[in-house]
């Protein structure tokens, strides 16, 4: 907690995302983007947390994130994703989907592509609630229940599924290159297969009974059948899309809406959630191992051994870790990552050892030493 750093930014932050780092180098991210909401003039902004040997700042002292550039954004930024190192896709409350380009040399942002009214009602705009991209493809979802597919290099729309959902779609993520997952406001998780021309989902998973709205969804980076979602009641659900159509496990997490859930991209034993209740949680499953505990050593050595032995497909022991979801057996540990907070934590992103989150208290928190 001592390495967490708050910066007040005079705008309520709806989204924070790290700029991806190139895979060739094992470097930590140093640039992130934020989007604001509820302001008269909303913005997307690019921030730097400084390279690790910058400006002769002595060890131990880490400066505030510095604003590199910003650009006006029409409407609330409801979602924001990096398409690649330089391009950012945003979802707007006006129903538009836009691409902004960050020019690192001049430190400027420009609007390079704009699909207005990507989401709409017959006589009104419908907020676009989420985007996901896998360059050059972009998928957006909205309050109009529509799924729209774009390509960053084409002006037109590639595909639209009207009435994909009778209620609001809150979030979207890729399951595989041709399949996406959406969550909606009546507690359903839907799987869509773009290889089929049908306008109905190939599978619907739902919470039994209560119809609690789901707000966020993320996929396990190695085991693609493991899905985490978060909902209005603050509950964390883990699903196995290979079997059954109800969640595999439900875990109490927050006391209000869970706005985002993210598996750690390289250490998926770790998961992060944030909520309207003002908290940010770090979840850790200790992978069951036959090794005696004294051989596992401390956390740091654990990191090394884990990354060294995790093959691309993931190892079997991790599967049971999330799918058992059994906190009573002490396999799942949660830690609060923010000092006491009252206002909503709307967004978080984690990459390497760095975590960034943004709040309705108009603060951005950066933690550069996440114990993963």
């Amino acid at each position: 907690m001592e390495s967490i750093n708050a910066k007040y930014v005079s705008q309520k932050i709806s989204k924070t995302r790290w700029r991806p780092v190139s895979h060739s180098e094992l470097q930590q991210p140093d640039i992130f983007a934020t989007g604001s909401w509820d302001n008269e003039d909303n913005k997307i902004s690019i921030w730097s947390i400084g390279s690790h040997a910058s400006n002769g700042i002595e060890d131990g002292f880490e400066g505030d994130p510095q604003l590199l550039c910003e650009h006006k954004h029409d409407g609330d930024v409801l979602d924001l994703q990096f398409l690649d190192q330089e391009r950012i896709v945003t979802a707007s409350s006006t129903g538009a989907v836009s691409i902004f380009r960050h020019h690192p040399k001049t430190q400027t942002l420009s609007n390079s592509q704009h699909w207005s009214r990507a989401h709409r009602y017959p006589c009104d705009n419908a907020p676009c609630t989420g985007v996901v991209c896998s360059s050059p493809e972009i998928v957006s979802v909205g309050e109009d229940g529509r799924i729209t597919v774009f390509r960053a290099d084409q002006e037109g729309v590639v595909r639209v599924i009207d009435n994909a959902d009778s209620s609001t779609i809150h979030a979207v993520t890729y399951l595989r290159t041709t399949e996406i997952l959406t969550v909606n406001s009546i507690g359903q998780l839907k799987l869509w297969d773009f290889r089929q021309q049908s306008s109905s989902p190939s599978q619907i998973f739902s919470l039994s009974g209560d119809r609690v709205p789901l707000h966020c969804v993320d996929r396990h980076p190695n085991q693609q059948h493991i899905i985490a979602t978060g909902g209005q009641d603050g509950m964390l659900c883990v699903w196995d899309v290979r079997q059954g159509n109800t969640p595999f496990s439900l875990m109490e997490a927050h006391s209000a809406e869970m706005w985002e859930v993210h598996f750690h991209p390289t250490n998926p034993d770790h998961l992060f959630t944030c909520s309207e209740d003002g908290s940010l949680l770090h979840w850790e499953t200790s992978s069951p191992s036959d090794m005696p505990s004294f051989l596992q050593g401390g956390k740091s050595s654990g990191v090394i051994s884990r990354s060294a032995m995790a093959p691309a497909g993931g190892n079997q022991s991790l599967i049971s870790a999330w799918l058992s979801g059994d906190s009573s057996k002490g396999r799942l540990e949660t830690t609060h990552m923010l000092p006491s907070q009252t206002l909503s934590v709307n967004s978080l992103d984690v990459l390497g050892q760095c975590l960034v989150c943004g709040t309705d208290g108009e603060a951005v928190f950066v933690n550069r030493r996440v114990p993963v």
């Binding site: 007040y8 005079s10 705008q11 309520k12 909401w37 509820d38 302001n39 008269e40 409407g75 609330d76 409801l78 409350s93 009602y121 017959p122 006589c123 009104d124 419908a126 907020p127 609630t129 309050e143 109009d144 229940g145 009435n163 959902d165 009778s166 209620s167 609001t168 406001s185 009546i186 507690g187 359903q188 839907k190 619907i204 739902s206 039994s208 009974g209 209560d210 119809r211 209005q232 209000a256 809406e257 309207e276 006491s340 009252t342 206002l343 909503s344 309705d360 208290g361 108009e362 603060a363």
Partner: protein, 657 residues
């Protein structure tokens, strides 16, 4: 000179043209509009902005001016002040009432310091922004804000020393010295300038720095400066040596030590007498600067007043005078010295500025006067609201009844929070302030929260969460209704139904269910199956919704060829009066294919019941308006029912024998 009315004056052009203006108070802003004057006094009855708009159109004028009462909340830098202090405020409210006051006091002092450090951070940022901006007007505006924050911090700090920390005699003076040193930091800048010059002792600001150090009781630093002069003038070495000894020997009270206040007083008197002796025997007569310092050390009023420029304010004069004449001053004696210092220091002709009166009131321990004067002099409620809240927690505001509202703390917090609520983004902060106003906070919140514009569902959910956490069921219903109506208008029946289920609004759920059924009747297929198939227990919210869900279930059973179950469900929808009468014909028509199956599906009893339903329906239809189309359908049904009855009797008879 610092605190003044800085509210920007808005010149509404029409006023100068001699036109009559009407106005309407909003929760934060004021609408001003041109009007045709009529002596009826009707303008003052116009309260909602809606009526204002209508009126202006009627009068043929097209301009409405929105006058902001509080400009500060629109300053991006001051927004940080509001956000950070909100955090501190919420923390303060959680300090437990029942803790002994001894353990609470350090907490209150540290909270007070937190508030002040937020002010300071904000001030520094404004200063930087004022320098870096190219725009002269903006720079001036930032400069104004800095001076207001400076005054706020000065007052807050004094209140912290006198009221919150409530230092006793001895420590009191030390705290006051810190206060003066913090707010008269110019001397450090000047000292840097002198020391960086080639020959500091010959710099023309040299003696000013030395004297300023002495005036602030920074004797160690004064001695270091004096050494530079002494080395330059070996002839006067013994004189400098003597001054150095006097300065080094001046006793300061040590609150943590073992020395009692009386012991300190005795020691201090001895030192004072020694300084006095040096002055009497003209030890410093040959050097006017050292002699002045010697007189200052004796607390000589005329000599202190000679340094008016270096002291620059009467409260610096006060603290210096106390340091060298009454170091063990008691809190209760302060007001006397404060009053006399102010009179001595200020020109008899000049009127004290608001800041002077506020500080004087603080020295007089008149907390209410301080708050009142600050409320009048400052252009925002931030300061008085937070300070009053903190003082109230310290139990320093005896129940001072207002003639309106509940008490001073709550009144000021409500004013501040209402201002925040008018802001498009900061309204969220206001909620916590309202929560901590026990008497009227809830009413304020209820009235304000309904006025938050809901552009997206996400925002609606946030507002809804605020209402649900506080059991504000009226507002919850109203928000859900707004969202449901909007969805309905946009032809999003599924969303509309979800919102009315969330509000438990049975009437609206019925309305939407009917829309679904109409839609079904028109198209012959259901829309939004993902929703209707997934209603669960919420189906029970309204009869019509139950029917919708059950009817869809019938279709599912039929589609899956579970004919017997489907038939039973269909019949029960009519016999249990779940289906609306208007829908019976559709249900009976749905029964036709089941009646015409090769297999007998409806039993004898069930067929009789179906016949009964049909007759009941036709009799009421005939009574209303006989049409040709239903008649053929009815005939068809009667025929099918009769055939089925025959088959069922045969079948059941066969089984029985």
């Amino acid at each position: 000179s610092i605190v003044k009315h800085t509210e920007p004056v808005h010149n509404v052009p029409a006023v100068s043209d001699g036109k009559h203006m009407g106005f309407a108070w909003g929760p934060g802003d004021i609408l001003v509009y041109e009007t045709l004057y009529k002596a009826s006094g009707m303008f003052f009855s116009l309260f909602s902005s809606f009526s204002v708009v209508c009126f202006v159109q009627g009068s043929g004028s097209s301009l409405i001016h929105e006058v902001r009462k509080d400009e500060d909340i629109y300053s991006p830098i001051l927004r940080k002040l509001f956000n950070e202090s909100h955090h501190i405020f919420v923390g303060l409210q959680t300090i437990r009432e029942d803790l002994p006051s001894k353990s609470k006091k350090p907490q209150f002092v540290s909270i007070s310091k937190n508030y002040r450090s937020v002010i300071r951070a904000c001030m520094e940022e404004l200063q930087q922004a004022a320098v870096s901006t190219g725009d002269e007007d903006v720079s001036k505006q930032y400069g104004n804000q800095v001076s207001i924050l400076l005054a706020i911090e000065l007052i807050w700090n004094l209140c912290e020393v006198l009221f919150i920390d409530a230092a006793p005699a001895g420590s009191l003076l030390l705290h006051l010295l810190d206060w003066v040193r913090l707010h008269k930091a110019e001397v450090d800048e000047k000292a840097r300038e002198v020391l960086q010059s080639e020959s500091p002792a010959e710099h023309r600001g040299y003696w000013d720095v030395v004297v300023s150090y002495v005036l602030q009781g920074r004797l160690e630093e004064a001695r270091q400066m004096l050494v530079k002069q002494a080395t330059l003038q070996p002839a006067l070495r013994s004189m400098y040596k003597l001054m150095d000894t006097l300065l080094a020997k001046m006793p300061f009270y040590n609150p943590g030590g073992t020395q009692t206040l009386t012991e300190f007083d005795v020691k201090w008197r001895h030192w004072h007498e020694e300084v006095d002796r040096c002055l009497q025997d003209n030890s410093f007569a040959s050097n006017q600067h050292l002699e002045l310092i010697c007189k200052i050390l004796l607390g000589d009023e005329d000599s202190l007043l000679e340094c008016k420029n270096l002291l620059s304010t009467w409260y610096h004069f006060l603290v210096t005078r106390l340091l060298f004449s009454h170091p063990t001053v008691k809190p209760t004696e302060l007001h006397y010295y404060a009053q006399s210092c102010m009179t001595m220091f200020l020109d008899s002709r000049s009127v004290p500025e608001p800041l002077d009166s506020i500080l004087l009131a603080a020295f007089e321990f008149d907390i209410h006067q301080v708050i009142k004067d600050c409320s009048i002099a400052l252009n925002n409620w931030w300061f008085v609201a937070h300070l009053t809240d903190l003082l109230d927690h310290c139990k320093l505001l005896q129940s001072h009844n207002l003639h309106f509202g509940s008490n001073l703390r709550e009144f000021l917090l409500l004013e501040y929070a209402s201002g925040l609520f008018t802001h498009h983004s900061l309204w969220q902060l206001a909620v916590d302030y309202f929560d901590h106003c026990p008497e009227f906070g809830r009413v304020y919140l209820e009235l304000q929260i309904e006025r938050v514009p809901l552009e997206t569902e996400r925002k609606a959910l946030k507002v809804l969460r605020i209402c649900e956490q506080r059991q504000m069921s009226e507002q919850v219903r109203s928000i859900c209704k707004i969202m449901a109506m909007r969805a309905l208008r946009n032809n999003r029946l599924g969303s509309a139904l979800s919102w009315s289920i969330r509000a438990k609004d049975a009437a609206f759920a019925t309305l939407i269910s009917e829309k679904f059924l109409e839609d079904y009747s028109a198209r012959g297929a259901f829309s939004d199956l993902d929703l209707i198939d997934n209603l669960g227990p919420s189906m029970l919210l309204s009869d019509r919704l139950t029917f919708l869900g059950k009817y869809r279930e019938f279709h599912k059973l039929y589609g899956e060829k579970h004919f017997t179950e489907a038939a039973r469900l269909l019949l029960s929808l009519m016999t249990a009066k779940i289906a609306p009468r208007s829908f019976w014909m559709t249900l009976l028509t749905d029964a036709l294919p089941l009646l015409e199956q090769k297999e007998v599906i409806f039993s004898v009893g069930q067929t009789y019941e179906l016949m009964f339903c049909l007759e009941e329906l036709t009799s009421s239809l005939n009574a209303a308006a006989p049409g040709s189309d239903p008649v053929t359908k009815v005939e068809l049904l009667r025929l099918a029912l009769a055939r089925n009855l025959a088959m069922a009797i045969v079948k059941e008879g066969t089984v029985n024998t």
